[in-house]
């Protein structure tokens, strides 16, 4: 692996409101990670190497060549770090669906902050909290104040708070794709910047990668995954299982449908689509075998959770973004 420039690139990775799968996915490139260290110095990666906010703050602006930021912005600290890293990085990459589209944590945008606190700390079968104590940004103790970051009203995407050059979607992004992207980036082979260009994926939809056969039939009844054994080779959507494939960007290799399970849309919207949910509503609206409003209503009632399914990973990128 070679770089076009002589001296080594400086790379950073940061983990915000996400599960850690992104960092693990980066480890999935396996031994190749040693190749990476051959051509690039890791100058910030909290889960891996010993550099601190203070060091980053001390770097000159745009010192970092490529910064991979994974996770959404759920609290004040994550926003501060995002701004800091934007300042210090030539190229900022939103890594993983949480950073790109909010990911699963953004499902919290369907609920209120208060509701979340109540469910976690008050109204909960194992919680014992007679004094109704809730976490506070500042807590007084005999020895001094303790501080934890402010919990925001909703999950924001990286591009909601800073400018982003590239997006690498996926929950998590698939290692091989990522490796190609990293090679491209570090090798200097890159698409135009400052446009949040999606890389390490294609513009097409999961159906493009899915091996299952489409028989061009309309759906007569919706079923849920635990209610039916799908035919192995046949399109799951046509079998009445809500599958996000048609509305989902490809790049994953259609792994879930290979495991006989419908796609849940983890790579976010495909093509030029921004709002994955409404795209899916359009698709669903087009393939039902109904001729009357009654039939339509009946079939729609068979869909258990349209919002949570169509926006499973991308509520942060939806036009409406959150509950009122």
């Amino acid at each position: 692996m070679s770089t076009n420039g002589s001296e080594k690139k400086k790379v950073a990775m940061y983990w915000a409101a996400s599960c850690g799968g992104c960092d693990i996915s980066l480890l999935e490139i396996g031994p190749r990670i040693l190749d990476l260290t051959a051509v690039a110095d890791v100058v910030f990666w909290p889960v891996a190497v010993d550099f601190k906010y203070a060091d980053v703050a001390a770097y000159p602006d745009e010192y970092i060549d490529y910064c991979f930021y994974n996770g959404g912005v759920r609290n004040s600290e994550q926003e501060e770090v995002a701004r800091l890293l934007r300042k210090k990085s030539k190229t900022l990459v939103a890594y993983g669906t949480c950073a790109c589209d909010g990911g699963i944590p953004a499902l919290a945008n369907l609920k209120s902050k208060q509701g979340i606190f109540e469910a976690a700390y008050l109204d909960n079968p194992s919680t014992v909290n007679p004094a109704k104590v809730l976490p506070q940004e500042i807590t007084e103790t005999p020895v001094g104040q303790l501080e934890i970051p402010k919990f925001y009203d909703q999950v924001l995407r990286l591009i909601d708070v800073v400018e982003v050059d590239y997006l690498i979607p996926g929950c998590p992004p698939q290692a091989d794709r990522v490796w190609e992207a990293i090679l491209a980036l570090v090798g200097g082979v890159v698409p135009p910047r400052n446009k949040a260009v999606k890389v390490a994926c294609t513009d097409k939809s999961v159906c493009d990668e899915c091996k299952r056969e489409k028989r061009k039939v309309k759906i007569k009844e919706f079923k849920r995954p635990h209610q039916v054994r799908p035919e192995p080779e046949w399109c799951l959507l046509e079998q009445g299982l809500i599958c996000m494939g048609p509305a989902t960007r490809s790049g994953c290799g259609a792994l879930c449908t290979n495991a006989d399970l419908p796609c849940r849309g983890c790579y976010g919207p495909s093509g030029t689509v921004e709002d994955q949910g409404t795209a899916m509503v359009s698709a669903i609206g087009s393939i039902l075998d109904v001729t009357t409003e009654e039939q339509a209503r009946a079939m729609l009632n068979q869909i258990a959770d349209p919002t949570g399914t169509f926006y499973r990973f991308s509520l942060g990128s939806s036009y409406l973004k959150a509950r009122k």
Binding site: D203, K204, S205, C207, D208, K214, K216, V217, K218, G245, P246, A247, S250, S270, G271, T272, V273, E274, D275, A279, M280, S282, A283, G285, S286, I287
Partner: protein, 679 residues
């Protein structure tokens, strides 16, 4: 939903990449608009918008001088976009598009803003109306920058027509097309042509005998070298599009040829009988038959469904002129346009509806007309159950103008709620005929309304009243009841709540009860699927627009003639047929069809071949290129509904003229901050 094209610079107007030069022309409509909307103020404020180089008003924008002015401005100011704010685009969009063409500007670089029907005529407060008008025009200014020039679709048309159905409408259409020198193929399912006209006996409003009229028409058609008629023939399948339809048809042999001389013997010899459709079941006919003495062709045909091929007819005629082999032949007909003239069926009352099928005294109006026919089954006598007829009751709207929950529902669960139009006059016509021949017969006419709408039809009503027909009026929610008359005065008694005598219940004795039955479309479901015909709520074929395009279907190149479109009398059928013929002729004569360019277009980069759009297209205009794994739109078949564009989960399909970026630009402008200010 980004789409392409930017607000600032033109995606090649008439020369790529030049700046927007928009002309805005606002119409007073002689006060219709300007009395409410302060058009001057709007024009001034619009003039300040980026890209707008001209903005002014005119008293009548659709007037010749105004159009000349637009033309002139386009040239003088080198405008590359034109907005006209006036009446509804349904009225004048075309007018102004032509103006653009004349000025050498692509006619689709045009926006029509509706500030009359949807602003000045509906908004009371002048201030609010003015703001709304401005808001809508601002939106058009934003949208128009995203428009790209488009070309009409042009498709060559094969110089021939296919007419399906050889009833009076089909024949008229065929005749008129042939007269224009077009080749015409006529396909008729039954072995005889002429359709139902011959069954009518006399026809209003002239009272002439139907058959001579019909024969005259038939002679004209069959002797025209341009016309080929296929009897006993049905349509199997049709492929292709306007200009180039390939229709596969199957012809079953007649079983009889010109060498047959002893027709009478043949028919007499036949042992097989079945009911006579022509006489609505009043009589029977043989398996080898002629529906009526002067049917056309003047030669019998064998009804293979009934024939047992016993060969008795063959021996009776000495073996000449009859062939009992019935292998059908299939041919493919090539035609540029298609005219559907598939006609109607009289409504067949349900079992027990007004006692139909229950009491032998209950018949339909069609059956009555067959009885009145001197050459008909009864030799012109009215008879039922042998007894002399003293009282006849006629009930209108049997199978028409019904109300859900009142009348018995049809098999499809619906009721026949539309007016069948022809039956009122036909019923009165029949009453008069009866009164003329047997003045002593009492006729009771039970109706909801009398709808004698056509020229001369009202006279039948007048004369019938003069002739002493008793009229009683019932409410469609409270239908007459038909019962056995226990006092034995007449076989039946009809009980009706009579509106004319303020709702008194009146009992009418009836030796004969005639149901003036409505009209239903002939069953052509295969054709409907084949040609993707739109169907109205009444399940008749649905035209594109009742006023502007009354004899065209949405599928270009397919026209409709006569009562397949809805209940019509012969006058109307022939008029419609003539209209359809001239439309078709024009299309053929022009040699090509022009279609609006607002069609679907696939972005091959984005298309994932997910096939969602394939099941969506009502016209099967989208297919999948398996080699490249992407969707492909047939530009000729696409009707431009845009449903696929809304469907594509990858936004890989756009509808020209209604692209996402265009609609969104409009939406943005309507909702942005300035718009808020002008609300």
């Amino acid at each position: 939903m980004q789409g392409n094209g930017s607000a600032g610079v033109v995606g090649n107007g008439n020369g790529a990449g030049e700046d927007l030069r928009i002309g805005v022309f606002i119409c007073h409509c002689g006060g219709n608009i300007s009395d409410v909307v302060d058009v001057k103020r709007v024009a001034e404020r619009i003039r300040k918008l980026p890209g707008v180089v001209f903005s002014d008003t005119h008293n009548f924008m659709c007037s010749d001088p105004a159009q000349a002015m637009i033309e002139e401005k386009i040239k003088e100011l080198n405008l590359n976009r034109v907005i006209v704010a006036a009446c509804s685009p349904t009225l004048h969009a075309l007018t102004f598009r032509r103006t653009l063409e004349r000025a050498g500007l692509n006619q689709y670089l045009f926006e029509h803003v509706n500030i009359r029907e949807q602003v000045s005529w509906v908004v009371e407060d002048p201030e609010a109306a003015t703001r709304k008008a401005e808001r809508l025009i601002r939106a058009a200014v934003k949208r128009i920058g995203h428009l790209a020039p488009l070309d009409k679709r042009r498709i060559p048309v094969h110089r021939s027509a296919l007419v399906i159905g050889a009833g009076v409408a089909g024949l008229v259409a065929a005749r008129d097309l042939a007269k224009c020198g077009m080749k015409v193929d006529v396909v008729e399912r039954s072995p005889f042509i002429g359709g139902r006209m011959a069954q009518l006996g006399k026809v209003f409003p002239t009272g002439e005998d139907a058959r001579p009229l019909l024969s005259k028409l038939i002679q004209e058609v069959v002797h025209d070298p341009n016309v080929t008629i296929f009897t006993s023939t049905e349509v199997l399948s049709s492929v292709g599009i306007v200009g180039d339809f390939r229709t596969k048809v199957r012809t079953t042999p007649r079983g009889v040829d010109a060498r047959l001389t002893y027709v009478g013997n043949a028919i007499a010899a036949c042992p097989e009988e079945t009911i006579s459709e022509f006489n609505y079941g009043l009589t029977k006919r043989k398996a080898i038959y002629m529906p009526h003495p002067n049917c056309y062709p003047q030669m019998p045909a064998i009804d293979w469904g009934t024939c047992t091929k016993c060969g008795k007819c063959l021996t009776a005629v000495g073996g000449k002129g009859i062939d009992l082999k019935d292998e059908p032949r299939e041919v493919e007909l090539h035609s540029g346009v298609i005219i559907l003239a598939t006609g109607y069926d009289p409504y067949e009352p349900l079992y027990g509806e007004y006692g139909y099928d229950v009491f032998p005294e209950v018949i339909t109006l069609q059956q009555l007309w067959r009885m009145l026919d001197w050459e008909g089954p009864t030799g012109g006598q009215i008879q039922r159950g042998g007894k002399p007829i003293k009282n006849i009751a006629i009930i209108h709207c049997a199978g028409a103008r019904q109300y859900q929950g009142i009348s018995m529902p049809q098999p499809d669960g619906k009721v026949k709620d539309y007016c069948a139009r022809t039956c009122c006059t036909a019923a009165l016509h029949a009453s008069l005929e009866v009164k003329e021949r047997w003045p002593e017969i009492n006729i009771y006419d039970l109706h909801q309304d009398i709808r004698t709408y056509g020229r001369g039809h009202e006279d039948y009503y007048k004369h019938a009243s003069e002739a002493g027909v008793t009229f009683l009026r019932f409410d469609g929610h409270d239908l007459p009841k038909v019962e056995k008359d226990l006092r034995g005065e007449a076989p039946l008694v009809v009980k009706v709540i009579d509106q004319l005598t303020n709702g008194r219940e009146i009992e009418v004795p009836a030796d004969l009860l005639v149901l003036a039955t409505g009209v239903v479309p002939h069953d052509i479901s295969e054709l409907i699927d084949m040609y993707k015909c739109a169907i109205g709520y009444d399940s008749f074929l649905l035209e594109v627009h009742p006023k502007l395009r009354p004899v065209e279907l949405a599928v270009t190149g397919v026209f409709i003639a006569g009562s397949c479109q809805g209940p019509m009398d012969i006058t109307e059928c022939t008029a419609a047929a003539a209209a359809a013929a001239s439309k078709a002729a024009a299309m053929i004569a022009h040699g090509q069809v022009e279609m609006e360019p607002f069609i679907a277009q696939v972005n091959e980069e984005l298309c994932t071949g997910c096939r969602t759009c394939l099941v969506v297209c009502p016209y099967d205009a989208i297919s999948r290129d398996e080699s490249r794994g992407i969707a492909v739109v047939s530009t000729a078949v696409c009707t431009g509904c845009g449903t696929c564009a809304a469907t594509c989960p990858s936004n890989a399909i756009v509808q020209l003229g209604f692209q996402d970026d265009q609609v969104l630009a409009e939406l943005n402008a309507l909702l942005d901050r300035e718009a808020a200010l002008v609300l």
